[in-house]
Amino acid sequence: APKRNTRRAAVATPSRGKTASVTPSIQESSSRSTTPQSVDSFSVQQMNLLQVPRPFKNKNYSAPKKARSLKQLLAQEKQPDFDVDLPTYQNIESPPSIRPTKKYCDITGLDAKYTDPKTGLRYHNAEVYQFIKGLGVSSVQAYLGSRNAAVVLK
């Protein structure tokens, strides 16, 4: 049979710390004896039960890995296995800008430096302003509606 790597960690000693050695430790103890041989002697062998050999266990046994089904693997594929904050093409996000908004003329579409106080329309120059002065109410509302600034009476 092929040689198998026993990936179980080396037998762990209890982490309570006092006995840190790997080999079974022999400790003097004046408490009750555990083995018939040492009935007469004062030193008693304390056993570390984690290191006692277990001949009935199969050395080559390795616990079976959990088999993920295809559905689980495909779902795992869709999720990223790196840090959530890492910028990728799917998740580049930015906070909203704090610059003042660029204003454009409602009539011509050129840059609008001025705003008509009476109607609220933005305009590019005096020539456009002359045109705005002659507009009727419905046209003004239509121009304002193109930038969702029209007055809506409910």
Binding site: P2, R4, N5, R7, A67, R68, S69, L70
Partner: protein, 410 residues
């Protein structure tokens, strides 16, 4: 120099063998099968010892063509490496392994873990099966004598789980042009089971038996409508109809086709009526027809010739003529009679008129990838293979990333 073990790890069979000994190639069913009457599990090739193969329950490590269940696959590999089959010690071997196309990265990591940490192979090379096919002597399939491999070829792998069409330019696959059709031998067997269960006897649990029937009776027809109208004719004029005797698992364990009598008529049932006969009429060619027209069963995918056309069209226009001239079909379904002629005709209709269309099928389409890998491992004493291998030391140092870098991924 270490020996090289080549495992063409398919979803239906594993083609395994040692590179230095081409006779060691064996086909091992890639499944653990539980027999209802034998009441034991047959791992891999133990299936040959099965006496009664009715109502077999298959446990496959592959799910939808991708290897998900390593618990089962490890048992099968243990059997392959054991003394009963190949008798190898993985630590003393290099491994060439085939994986499905478009294998997921987390599955590829599992492959690497199992190979290097569980079995401790000395080195390995994992790639898609069509790439291994490319190392064969392809020009000889067309009767040409040419020293070098063709610059461009299209390998069509009609396998168990699906069909992949992989165009190669200068020996490198073109990833954007690889096409997949989700139809394979598994679907054809299942479809035949349903059809037979609907029309004749309930065979929904008899996968092994219907697979035998499919391999014995089915063929690819060149003119479907003509054959369909022949099927409607009375048995004396109908040359297509065949009678398959089903095994009864007591006296007879394998089915067979009753040959026609000398005057061309059917034998029919014998007087003692002990045999159960399955009549195969238009199922014989309508089942493989699914490969060419998946819309027959409601699948919204192209058939093989159209997929080859789409795949070649997605490649560089300068290479398309070369690709049409070097189409090789491998995989188990290529054993169907009439396959090559049908693909040649249909592809000729799709391809532009100025291009030559040459389609070929090697004599042993199932072993073609294995023999390509064997060629790679043995030519120049494996010098070409050495720079592709990732040794165990490299893997332990860099992890699965080195495998992804060196092998590429498609």
């Amino acid at each position: 120099m270490l020996e090289t073990l080549i495992l063409d790890n398919g979803a239906y069979t594993i083609k395994a063998g040692i590179a230095s000994n081409p006779e060691s190639l064996c086909h091992i069913p890639n499944s653990i099968v539980r027999g209802k009457h034998d009441r034991r599990n047959f791992v891999g090739d133990e299936l040959n010892n099965c006496q009664n193969y009715s109502a077999l329950y298959y446990r496959l490590p592959f799910e939808k063509g991708l290897l998900t269940n390593w618990g089962i696959e490890k048992n099968i590999w243990d059997r392959v490496f054991s003394n009963n089959v190949l008798k190898i010690d993985p630590t003393q071997h290099n491994l060439i392994l085939s994986e499905p196309c478009f294998n997921l990265p987390n599955m590829q990591e599992m492959y690497d873990q199992i190979i290097y940490e569980e079995y401790e192979f000395a080195a390995s090379y994992r790639t898609i099966a069509p790439k291994l096919c490319l190392y064969n002597d392809i020009p000889s399939l067309y009767g040409q004598r040419q020293a070098a491999a063709p610059d461009c070829a299209v390998i069509v792998d009609v396998g168990y789980s699906f069909t992949h069409i992989v165009p190669f330019i200068n020996g490198v696959p073109v990833p954007s042009a690889i096409k997949r059709i989700n139809i394979g031998g598994k679907l054809l067997t299942n479809q035949l089971k349903e059809l037979v269960s609907f029309r004749y006897y309930d065979m929904m649990e008899e996968t092994y038996l219907i697979n035998d029937v499919k391999e014995a009776c089915c063929y690819v027809s060149s003119d479907v409508f003509k054959d369909l109208s022949n099927c409607r004719a009375p048995p004396s004029k109908n040359q297509i109809i065949q009678e398959y005797v089903l095994p009864d698992f007591t006296k007879r364990h394998k089915g067979y086709i009753i040959p026609r009598a000398e005057d061309g008529s059917l034998q029919g049932r014998r007087a003692d009526n002990t045999e159960q006969i399955l009549t195969m009429n238009n199922e014989r060619f309508m089942i493989p027809e699914i490969l060419f027209n998946p819309s027959d069963i409601g699948m919204n995918q192209a058939g093989i010739p159209e997929a080859i056309y789409q795949s070649v069209q997605a490649c560089d226009p300068d290479a398309q003529g070369l690709l049409y001239a070097n189409v090789v079909i491998v995989g188990g379904n290529a054993n169907l009679p009439g396959f090559k002629a049908r693909i040649q005709n249909d592809l000729r209709r799709f391809a532009p008129a100025e291009y030559d269309v040459r389609v070929s099928i090697p004599e042993n389409p199932i072993d073609y990838a294995w023999s390509g890998a064997q060629f790679l491992a043995s030519v120049d004493d494996g010098a070409r293979l050495q720079n592709k291998l990732v040794t165990r030391k490299e893997y332990l140092e860099h992890g699965s990333d080195i495998c992804r870098i060196k092998f590429g991924s498609f």
